[in-house]
Symmetry: D2
């Protein structure tokens, strides 16, 4: 799972001192922050900068499930490539897949399921066709 | 899943301003911090304060998989009860289950799988019998 | 400076694993979070829970200057007492003083200057008399 | 104070969603993280990557005083330039100066005083001549 070849987008970030714990490794919760940064940059890349690009279609994303697998720890000052893609788009949900690499080593992989919801009422809403189009345009390119 | 009755331990914490994002809800990565605090307090309660109680048996815990389900968001200043228990203990792994409640409302549930490993070599190692005993003593009580 | 006797309020918190860095000590930025938690609890104690107690008087607090002195580091799992008081109240500003102790040892002290501003326009506004009264009632008690 | 012209080094970073609070602005403690990232990159730029470049001379840096002035808030997704320089080097201390800009707007400035100490004993130690030389070489260039 989570081979680099499955991803057409990645974002580079560097591990901060404040993110590393006493074991000398990145504290687990910060990987969700890395994935969030990766999602932000992915959405910017496909022309839908978060959150304005989605708000334009009366949508916002709320996380409903996160699954993270830790193969090998990231260390202080590591340069990491956060690979991101959208796996499935359901009627009102979007699955994001993440794979965090240091060079050729897969460190952490993840899957986030978001519900698309109205920004104010937070009631689930269909993912707008314009968003589906932007994703398939980007992933086909 | 994750009914309060399945847990004999919980730890109360209060949502900090710094943990709440622009949507007015706790940023998702912080729930892993809450679970980590809950695990720390659980281990203290069963007489194995982290990490010294485990190091005594040449063990340390490294997270290998986290699964988090978000039902409803926690808000600034909420008092939350983080319910914690150990579900399964494998030969060299431990499953922790978490359920975060605000009053009677389940907000977020989670499952963390840790591998027990030697603190220095980080090679997986059998979970010591003394740890198994401490857990079953506590959960039976 | 920052003797315990100068404070009539303190709030206890425990250092989390996620807050400790590779040097084994609390990362410096987290002390501002501890002070923020202390301020929140102080305002609750004097009957003006943040932010609603201030919003009622069309005020909100924005930090303009923070000064932190680090005498000795806090460590993982330390129980800390965050002592808090309001030093001066200017026409549209409030000075908060903080002293973080572990038992009788002063670890970190701080001074935060906040400007009181309108919550929407963020234009500085006089500190309401009701807030001045709540503070002096509490500190005199 | 803190004009851009006084700095020969800056590092660009982008505000993360997780760093922005309910007021829509970066939570104050995160600015110390930004400064820490800036210091790390400054030390890399002068050829003394933290911490190994200092450990080679039996030194490590421990923060003793931080002063932060908040002129204007950073917002979600802002691109910020963290300007960094070393102001004074005392016998066993180093003063770092920081100025965080968004374009031409100074948002936050800061001064961190570090003591140079032995990495294990943490006893203050003279700043090694090789470090002084690296700084003056870089700042003169």
């Amino acid at each position: 799972m989570a081979s680099k070849d499955e991803f057409s987008f990645s974002y580079r970030l560097r591990v901060r001192w404040a993110e590393v714990d006493r074991q000398g490794i990145v504290f687990n919760g910060h990987y969700l922050t890395y994935f969030d940064v990766g999602m932000t940059e992915y959405l910017r890349a496909i022309g839908l900068p978060y959150p304005d690009g989605l708000l334009e279609y009366d949508g916002d994303l709320f996380l409903v499930k996160a699954t993270v697998e830790f193969k090998s720890p990231a260390l202080y000052d590591d340069e990491l490539d956060c690979h991101v893609r959208i796996g499935r788009i359901g009627s009102s949900s979007m699955q994001f897949l993440f794979a965090l690499y240091r060079g050729d080593d897969l460190l952490v992989s993840g899957e986030n399921i978001y519900v698309n919801a109205h920004p104010v009422t937070r009631a689930p809403a269909p993912v707008h066709q314009a968003i589906r189009d932007a994703v398939s345009r980007f992933e086909r390119a």
